[in-house]
Amino acid sequence: MEIKMFDEFGVFGEDKDKAKNIRENKILPALNKGEDIILNFEGVKSVTQSFMHALISKVIREKGTEVLEKIYFKECNDVVKEIVRIVTEYMQDPIGLDEKNGIH
């Protein structure tokens, strides 16, 4: 399944409610059916970290990191690529904060 992100939110992906809709109504159902997902970012100039987190963090948390073999990020510019990397890597080993270990 291919999702054209420009059609969903335009040039700037920052609306977390839209991210949630895409995640819940398109990404997760397709993955549940065993389909691969192509997130096509053609025409998208930028996205926020919060938007990308809302789009894919739950997917990685629920389905494990193996799910990254079923999701393809297409036509990303450098900014979008870097945000995707930050969020996918962060979700595999998130920063924690507690009294015993401090920031870790």
Partner: protein, 377 residues
Amino acid sequence: MQNQLQRCRLKNLKVKQYNRNQSKKQKRQFTGIPGKFDIFKNYFIYSKYHMKVYVPNSAFLGNMQGFIKKLELEDDSKLEVSFNKQWMSLHPMALAMVASLGLKMNHEGKPIHCEEIEAKSKPYFARMGLLSYLSSAQEIQIRKHEESGRFIPLRTIKNNDDLKKLLEDINPIFHGKEEQVETVNYVLSELIRNVFEHSLSNIGAVVCVQNFKASKKNEKPNRISIGVADTGIGIKKSLSESYPTNNDLEAIKLALTPGVTGRTRIPGGTEQNAGAGLFFIKSIAKVNGNFFDVYSGSGFYKLLTSDKKRSSLNADPNFDKHSELENLPHWQGTVLGIDIVLEQTEPFINLLKNIREFYFKIKKIKKKSFYKRARFI
């Protein structure tokens, strides 16, 4: 007999004098106004129990604390706003603060007394929309040459549509220097969405953006200045479920730490919140050597400007070059201000690369192949 009378009169006089002095003393203690200003004492006695804002001639991110310290915010039954008589020039953060107080008072149907502005800056305040927020009907002639649009006047952002419109309107104020549109859009979106999600304000955020021209006179570079203010629950209360803190300053610093969100203590955050928004904003300011001010409750944190070549990102805001204040007048809500210097600002992609490298540093990861990689096609 006469001597007795004289003594008695003298005693009475002394008693009266004593009583007068005591009364003055009490009033001074009550008003906090020194004796030489006794001429104004009735005014101040009357106005002690109102919120009072004095708009100074200058309030920018470097000296914002001077403006904040003079706020009187204890009782919100009435708002009184007075202005410097000569000239005024304010950062959008200060404008957004005053406007958001006006918005709150209007929303709650409480009175606002806005002093007549005598300074030449009056048309500027009208154009920025401040007088409308203060429900002031002062007569102003606006000069047409200000139409060129170097600013986004004060506006209230309550929902996604308002935010989308703001992001659409932002491009013209760059006047051709659009390399930093991405950075400014990013900052605005993250700051305003924080208000939507965490402030619990039912009147939204007040936002103002201004493109300040470079000034050779005071060696100020061309910069975009952003102010966002809300009158919601504030950072301390917002974090309280996951990260209870002892004071507002501690809460502000926690909010600037990556991985901290009011929604959960679980590393990685919730499906909608990673707890990295304000850390990213602080990083944008840090990497570019710009100011970033946060004021919430009675706490204030200011990221100071620094040599960007020597700046490295820190997870703990205590390690950043900063100033902090506690026990300030209590702001019910949160206010943020940031400057983005256009010529100096790193391309947005470089900032993101910095953040990613920093993340590897925290995790002490030497090989990026440690992670399963996202697939780009």
